[in-house]
């Protein structure tokens, strides 16, 4: 019985992670401009990857493998948002501006972000 619950939990994690990863990359293809694409892939990827790793961890039971998976998850959790930040920063400072619908609403967030960079 416990084994069944553990398995079900692991499958759920793997399934949810796969769906998130897929959605993220579909966004990478479908969305209209760079910042939107980054938004799609940067956010879903971190959660999706960690969910898949969690699913694998539950499958592995408690062993060295689990610890390695935990470390991979931790490092991905650090590096993936950092690289997204770095790319966004590079794009923004080089003058790429987000695609926005309205001229008025564009100014403020753009300048605010520029100050931080």
């Amino acid at each position: 019985m416990t084994a069944l619950i553990v398995d079900a939990f692991s499958w759920a994690c793997l399934g949810a992670g796969s769906v998130l990863v897929l959605i993220g990359t579909v966004g990478l293809i479908r969305l209209p401009d760079f910042y939107a694409r980054m938004h799609a892939v940067g956010i879903t990827d971190t959660l999706g990857a960690d969910l898949i790793l969690l699913g694998l961890m539950v499958q592995a039971g408690f062993s060295l493998v689990t610890i390695k998976l935990l470390l991979i998850g931790a490092f991905l959790f650090f590096t993936s948002p950092t690289s997204t930040h770095a790319i966004a920063n590079a794009a923004f400072t080089s003058g790429l501006r987000p695609l926005v619908a309205d001229e008025e609403t564009e100014r403020e967030p753009a300048e605010e972000k520029g100050d931080q960079a």
Binding site: F75, F78, T79, T82, H85, A86, N89, A117
Partner: protein
């Protein structure tokens, strides 16, 4: 059509697509990004084909070093390839004919995965069956690399050493101090600085693990050397080349460059002096297995030293060049 074969097939198709895109695109920056993807996919393929040590090496090299080297070269040369203006017919014909000849050659080859292929029946069973008794380490690849074929590996390390020396000769080992003020780059990238600081420790620790755990799992001197170098390169990228040189002076790196090869050769010489064959480590310890263990450990350490020193000094030499100042916008 097993699952493994389907994955194998899709990864090969990815590789083909990536290679074709590299051929087609003229923006060299995109070519660099694609070549890093090419290396990622090939590492995945190596894992699938049971070559975990090879995948490890490809990962260590492809994840950072080669991308960084290509980017430095781009910053010193042009960023766009000019349109080719010559006849394509002859190269295409030559390539096509060569490809056909090679495909004709494969028709006689033993099929993929055939356990009775000639490659599988001669020396491989000896390595697989005798490693445990003769060298006494679980990772057969490390045993073959450092012990059975130690001479071969010594040659490879010498090649790497020579290539490193040649790069230093071409680009100048000691960097001329340019006149002007060094600007502290990356100073305001707080997030990057903090994350890099957090990560450098684990990277170095991981390199040590790879270096000394190579007898038991995938790893060894070649991989560890590249990972060590990656840690220093990332430090130099974020905190400046000047600071990196203060932490690890170029002079020290060049001394280590030679030390690694000397250590490797020296271990061979010691076994020579004990009256055994060159690079036969069995005499180094009380028992054969203990001697082999010690010998492999020392030799792998020498490999790690040379590889990391070559990578770091190559990076120093490339990054120390002053890029031409251009207003070219892209």
């Amino acid at each position: 059509m097993t699952m493994e074969f389907v994955i194998n097939m899709s990864l090969f198709v990815f590789l083909g697509l990536t290679a074709f895109a590299i051929l087609k695109l003229r923006a060299l920056f995109a070519v660099v990004m694609l070549s890093s993807v090419f290396s990622l996919v090939s590492a995945g393929l190596f894992v699938l084909l049971d070559a975990v040590d090879v995948a490890f090496t490809e990962a260590a090299v492809g994840a950072g070093i080669s991308t960084v080297l290509l980017l430095v070269t781009l910053s010193l040369t042009a960023r766009r390839e000019k349109a080719p203006h010559r006849a394509h017919a002859i190269p295409l014909a030559v390539v096509f004919l060569t490809g056909l000849a090679l495909v004709y050659g494969t028709l006689d080859m033993p099929h993929f995965g055939d356990p009775n292929a000639p490659a599988q029946t001669h020396v491989a069973p000896k390595y697989i069956n005798d490693t445990e008794r003769e060298v006494g380490m679980p990772n057969i690849v490390t045993a073959v690399l450092a012990s059975y074929r130690g001479f071969d590996t010594l040659g490879e390390v010498t090649v790497i050493f020579t290539a490193g020396i040649a790069v230093l000769l071409l680009l100048g080992a000691s960097i001329r101090e340019p006149d002007g003020v060094r600007i502290q780059t990356m100073d305001h990238h707080l997030v990057l600085r903090v994350v890099t600081k957090v990560l450098i420790g684990p990277i170095l620790l991981f390199a040590l693990y790879v270096q000394f755990h190579g007898d038991y799992g995938p790893g060894g001197g070649f991989q560890a050397g590249v990972i060590f170098a990656a840690a220093f390169i990332i430090y130099a990228l974020v905190f400046g080349l000047e600071n990196a040189r203060r932490a690890v002076p170029g002079q020290a790196v060049r001394i280590l460059l030679a030390c690694g090869v000397l250590l490797y050769g020296g271990v061979g010489l010691i076994s020579f002096l004990f009256g055994e064959n060159y690079l036969n480590y069995s005499v180094l310890g009380a028992t054969q297995v203990a001697g082999q263990h010690l010998g492999v450990l020392l030799v792998e350490f020498g490999v790690g030293l040379t590889v990391s020193a070559v990578m770091v000094s190559t990076f120093y030499a490339f990054a120390g060049q002053n890029p031409p100042i251009s207003d070219e916008d892209w």
